[in-house]
Amino acid sequence: MTKLKPMLAVAAACGLLTSAAHAEDSLKIGVIATLSGPPAVLGTQLRNGFQLAVKDLGGKLGGLTTEIIVADDELKPDVAVTKVKALLDRDKVDFVVGPVFSNILGAIEKPVTEANVILISPNAGTSTFAGKDCNPNFFVTSYQNDQIHEVLGQYAQESGVKKVIIIVPNYQAGKDADAGFKHKFSGEVLDEIYVPLGQLDFSAELSRISAAKPDAVFAFLPGGMGVNFVKQFRQAGLADSITFLSAFTVDESTLPAQRDAALGMLAGSNWAPNLDNPQNKAFVDEYLKEYNAVPATYAFQSYDAALLIDSAVKAVKGNLGDKDALRAALKKADFKSLRGAFKFNNNHYPIQDFYLTKVAKRPDGLFETEIVKTVFTNYGDSYAQYCPMK
């Protein structure tokens, strides 16, 4: 036993040495997403998308063997900060990818960027970091949140919708959605219904909508709220007479529960599974095969985040120490995005096309959103002008 101890120590030292030597040509990426509670569906998509990209690239990003460390933020900002600090201090990650939700982003943006580590958000795109508080270490591969609501507002305006009722949860993102929609829509807003966050039965609200007889409803009811609202909207017989416009309410993460009730409902997006390019087709097929689900934007945007890291690490030839060069390489966005045309604005948020999408049934019986028309082309957000970065 006494002899074994020094041997163990030597073995441990060898282990340490090899891992230290290894660090030269390997890449560590922390992925932080919501993986518990009902919103776990979104976080799972985000994590899967990223892992799929790394797998497709042969386990290497930019030629470096890549290790992914996944953390669950539990949708609690304080938990997220603790987990992110562990990723930074203990695991010494080179990049942090995440999160799903804007309130988590608000909590982790500072700890990550101040540690001079690159933070790439594959979903949350708050206005907070798009304007004067934009950050050189922070990149977004999704969109600025307002843009999705603007797509619906613009479409309502163009398609001759005259009277609208808006229904959103009574919290900041809900008010932003309301404002984003009204920013582009100048018709009559009959009513703005604010519901408590997490409400599941909308009987009273649906009766109000039914009585007011609008041309269209604009709903921003993410997650379980949307599942319920869409089903009840259909059950109340409103879907036949009122156009259903929505943001983050019908997508591939909620469709497995909404199914036929959501058929034909409209949404705004920067991508859809049926977006026609060979790379995207391959991605959707592979995701389906691997995870037995149709990917939503969360998956594709984090797939893109991996491609982005790959391109930048390649450009700096694996030299992660030179952060200026790394940031410049990231800013170039020299990769083929699944969505087609993609570049970064001065605030590191994307400039891209936006589409009106519609829920449809696939030949295999699953549901997905499909592109109806392009609403904005090469569209940047309105906060970029206040960002001091060039």
Partner: protein
């Protein structure tokens, strides 16, 4: 126009009310008869919904799935009583709260492990899809009417059971003075088990009935449990009649508050702040109601006699 809208909102309120009653009935009996705080009652409701989805996937028939789910919910409730709750009857309320809270955490996670975190869905039975026209342009889903109907039927059945049968008499006696009933030679343990199993099944029934309307997901029982607790406190603990009246009251106050608070506030406020303040006030209304009831009648509206 406003008249029909009001009428429809009353229907909506009734629907929420009977749903709350189905859950609160079991809760109030368990609380009243056994002096046992069962926070896990909400997860029984969730479990009912999950079981219905699972059985529907197997047999493809709503009625059959409903029966199987009720049987399974009852069996599970009895198992839970046997394994955990039975050992807590004589204990302090705090022990009961902690233990049943543990059951909530455990079951919420267990359904996630078994069925996944994604919301599931149960289709409306074919015979009751669609909606009826209550007024020109005002459609109302048939299934919601079915919920109201079945809730009232269950309430009537319960009333008959509790008022006119021997077991009902024992339940009422137990709610008044459990120890005296025991001393008189009634097997109180068995009575407890029956009451508990029955309450569990009612909560499961509520879960099955609401599943076609809302998504079935982990944690769906938590919010409804809070409302059910408000109901039994307002109604008077241990009283079925109290639970019925209080459930309808809460359903109506909550629904009408949500529907008309903004319009009422607009009379005295500018539209924009009214829109912000309205929902906040609406979600407080039932608790305000509870405070008022407790101030005027500390034992609730219909306290079980002798307490």
């Amino acid at each position: 126009m406003t008249g029909t809208l009001f009428f429809i909102q009353v229907l909506n309120g009734l629907q929420l009310g009977v749903l709350l009653f189905l859950i609160a009935a079991g809760l109030t009996l368990v609380f009243g008869v056994m002096d046992f705080i069962n926070l896990a009652h909400g997860v029984q409701y969730m479990l009912g919904a999950y079981l219905a989805v699972a059985f529907y996937g197997l047999v493809g028939n709503f009625l059959l799935a409903l029966i199987l789910a009720l049987a399974a919910a009852l069996a599970f409730g009895l198992l839970l009583e046997f394994l955990v709750l039975r050992h807590l009857y004589g204990r302090d309320h705090l022990d009961q709260v902690i233990a049943t809270f543990g059951i909530i955490l455990f079951l919420n996670h267990a359904v996630r492990v078994v069925w996944g975190a994604a919301p599931l869905t149960l289709p409306v039975p074919d015979a009751f899809t669609g909606s009826v026209q209550l007024a020109p342009g005002q459609l109302y889903p048939v299934w919601r009417l079915v919920i109201i109907g079945s809730g009232i039927a269950v309430a009537t059945g319960l009333y008959v059971l509790v008022t006119y049968t021997r077991i009902g008499m024992l339940v009422r006696a137990g709610a008044t003075n459990a120890r005296m009933v025991s001393v008189l030679g009634v097997n109180i343990e068995r009575l407890f088990t029956i009451v508990f199993g029955f309450g569990t099944m009612l909560a499961g029934f509520a879960g099955v009935m609401i599943a076609p309307i809302i998504s079935v997901e982990p944690g769906m029982g938590t919010n409804i449990l809070i409302l059910a607790l408000v109901v039994i406190v307002i109604g008077g603990i241990g009283s079925i009649r109290g639970a019925f009246v209080a459930a309808l009251l809460i359903g109506l106050v909550d629904t009408l508050g949500r529907s008309f608070s903004v319009d009422l506030l607009r009379v005295v406020m500018a539209p924009s702040p009214a829109r912000m303040v309205g929902p906040a006030i609406a979600s407080m209304l039932i608790y305000v109601l509870m405070a008022i009831v407790l101030y005027l009648r500390p034992a609730g509206l219909f306290p079980a006699r002798g307490r």
